[in-house]
């Protein structure tokens, strides 16, 4: 399979991590070895076996539709990197040209 640093760069973009060139070069062979070693799962995963996504059978769980107090605004914003007018302040979300 052999992941190239370019492949890793593409993955990093999808994962929203700005990796340096050094990191790309260091990570590529490591990820390659890991993926190669885990690929053995496909040896036994034949079509007739149902997948398991969860250890125990899951059912929908509902709670009573009762109003509960929310956390106060100042507590919610206390951990925010930036806040303004009782809101999270975020960087611009559109490109320059928009």
């Amino acid at each position: 399979m052999a992941l190239s640093p370019d492949d890793v760069a593409a993955l990093a973009r999808l994962a929203r991590i700005e990796l340096t060139d050094d990191e790309l070069a260091h990570l590529a062979p490591q990820l390659d070895v890991i993926l190669e070693s885990v690929a053995s799962v496909s040896d036994v995963a034949t079509a007739d076996i149902p997948p398991t996504s969860h250890a125990l059978p899951l059912t929908n769980v509902f709670r009573e539709d009762v109003v509960r107090p929310s956390l106060p605004v100042d507590e919610v914003l206390a951990g925010a990197p930036a806040a303004e007018q009782d809101r999270f302040r975020v960087p611009r979300i559109l490109g320059e040209e928009a």
Binding site: A15, L31, I34, V41, H54, G79, P81
Partner: protein
């Protein structure tokens, strides 16, 4: 209670003894808490088990408990006993870093359900313990705040991810601790530090307020220096929680009763053929066999069972877990909490996000996010994630077959004893092999534990004995653990940890 001499003082007592002495007025929770804070002060510069010591609040909590006891109130079986909390569980007012720079200084505005139950049981929380970043690792070397050292040999790893919790126990900084186990993060540190660690049945303890690594695998559980203390703590934290949709709505298995009984006569104990042999240290295999002999001498029947798909468990785990990691850790986006880097007015939210995640995550977290991103991407999904989910089915079937022939399954907890710090830090695959024996139980969601069975003759380091029980049969773990402990403590002439050398300061 006697003053501290030769391992018989306050900090060397069991949690059950401490609770009894506090309840009957022989000592106070303040005195016990202070003794542990003093020990932290004395040795934690070397061990680095704690990321945050909450001394003032612990002493306040202890004083309130003492006041209530003096007023004649009857409190719970662990009231007034101090505990070390893994720094991945939310505790209102204390920093929760998860061992990551991305959450440095973040103070949760709420308590995890496990934390709340500890406080409701009047257990005194000393502080937050070190871990591999977001619980990803087997050595605590992936912590952004420096590794924890193994109290048996400070040049070696204490296991991971819950190395801080396990080391705090072995260094007598706390008699109780909480861990979380996704692939072995409670059991492997217990194994290499000579302590007890239990992963309850998935859904047996609440994940509410536990920062998620892999949601279908994560499970908080009790850590202690002996079997009864672990059971008492299990009883406190377990049970249905409406805040966790995967929480099991059923009574907590009778773990304390089982720990007090230790009766294994007539029990069928299945040795998993695939978890032994090549790659297992001779001293690990020797102590494991001795454990089997002890159980047989007490009337258990030892049988061999085969779980042929366990060979594929590591592969399935290292696809399923990173896939869930890549999704769960997407919330660290620099917008609502934690670190934000590069927000200079010129950069977009997406650029700030990518710069923050680059600066805030360590190497192993990045590796796992990217493996997960790869495994879930179109074109690879069926071959990787899809196949891994099928292997998960095969492993559950192996367990089901084996549990028809045996009441519990057993193996060494880890193939080797504690290895030197730095040895595997940049070799992810070698690091992953530490969890070979522990991963199958996470994939199948059953109950599993590690108990100390001695020191490996070749290196004098602790060896763990793993017991696995069917879902909701957690009590069987304690039954087997107590049977081992009873004989071994007699044989050793005291707990295994009484053989530990004093920590150089």
């Amino acid at each position: 209670m006697a003053e501290e001499t030769n391992g018989t003082g306050v900090i060397h007592s069991t949690a059950a003894e401490l609770a009894a002495a506090i309840a009957n007025g022989e000592t106070t929770s303040v005195a016990v808490t202070q003794a542990h804070l003093d020990q932290i002060e004395a040795v934690d510069g070397t061990i680095n088990a704690f990321l945050y010591v909450d001394a003032e609040r612990a002493l306040e909590q202890a004083a309130i408990i003492d006041h209530r006891i003096a007023g004649g109130e009857q409190l719970g079986p662990l009231a007034g006993v101090p505990l070390a909390l893994k720094d991945i569980l939310a505790y209102r007012g204390a920093p929760t870093t998860c061992g990551s720079k991305i959450l440095e200084g973040w103070i949760p505005p709420y308590d995890a359900t496990v934390t709340k139950r500890l406080l409701d049981a009047d257990i005194v929380i000393l502080g937050k313990t070190n871990l591999d970043e977001f619980a990803m690792g087997s050595s605590t070397e992936n912590s952004a705040y420096g590794p924890t050292r193994n109290p048996w040999d400070t040049s070696r790893i204490p296991g991971g991810s819950g190395g801080g919790s396990a080391a705090a126990l072995a260094a007598f900084e706390a008699p109780l601790a909480i861990g979380t186990d996704t692939g072995g993060s409670i059991r492997q540190p217990a194994s290499v530090t000579g302590t007890v660690g239990v992963k309850p049945t998935y859904g047996g303890t609440s994940r509410y307020g536990v920062v998620a690594m892999a949601s279908s695998l994560d499970q908080p559980g009790p850590c202690a220096r002996n079997v009864l203390d672990a059971a008492l703590l299990h009883q406190v934290i377990a049970g249905h929680d409406p805040y966790d949709s995967t929480s099991i709505d059923a009574p907590v298995p009778p773990v304390v009763e089982a720990a007090r009984s230790g009766d294994v006569s007539g029990m069928k104990i299945g040795v998993v053929k695939e978890l032994g042999g090549e790659g297992y240290a001779p001293g690990v295999e020797q102590r494991f066999r001795e454990g089997l002999e002890i159980l047989a001498a007490q009337g258990a029947e030892i049988v061999e069972v085969s779980c042929p798909h366990f060979t594929y468990a590591l592969g399935a785990y290292y696809l399923i877990m990173p896939s869930e990691v890549s999704s769960n850790l997407a919330k660290f986006d620099a917008m609502r909490f934690g670190l934000r880097v590069g927000d200079d007015g010129s950069r977009s939210a997406e650029q700030v996000m990518a710069l923050t995640r680059e600066a805030g995550f360590g190497a192993e977290v990045k590796r796992r996010i990217m493996i997960g991103t790869y495994a879930l991407s179109s074109g690879y999904y069926d071959a990787y994630y899809g196949s891994a989910q099928k292997v998960r089915t095969l492993i559950s079937r192996d367990f089901a077959g084996a549990f028809e022939r045996a009441d519990v399954l057993v193996s060494p907890s880890t193939p080797v004893t504690a290895f030197p710090l730095g040895e595997k830090v940049d070799d992810p695959l070698a690091m992953y092999m530490n969890d070979l024996c522990t991963i199958p139980s996470n994939l199948a969601g059953n109950a599993s534990a590690s108990f100390p069975v001695g020191l490996a003759p070749e290196d004098g380091l602790p060896v763990g004995f793993q017991v696995m029980a069917p879902p909701l049969a957690d009590d069987r773990l304690y039954r087997v653990g107590a049977a081992l402990e009873r004989t071994l403590v007699d044989r050793w002439g005291g707990p295994l940890l009484s053989q530990i050398k004093e920590i150089a300061r």
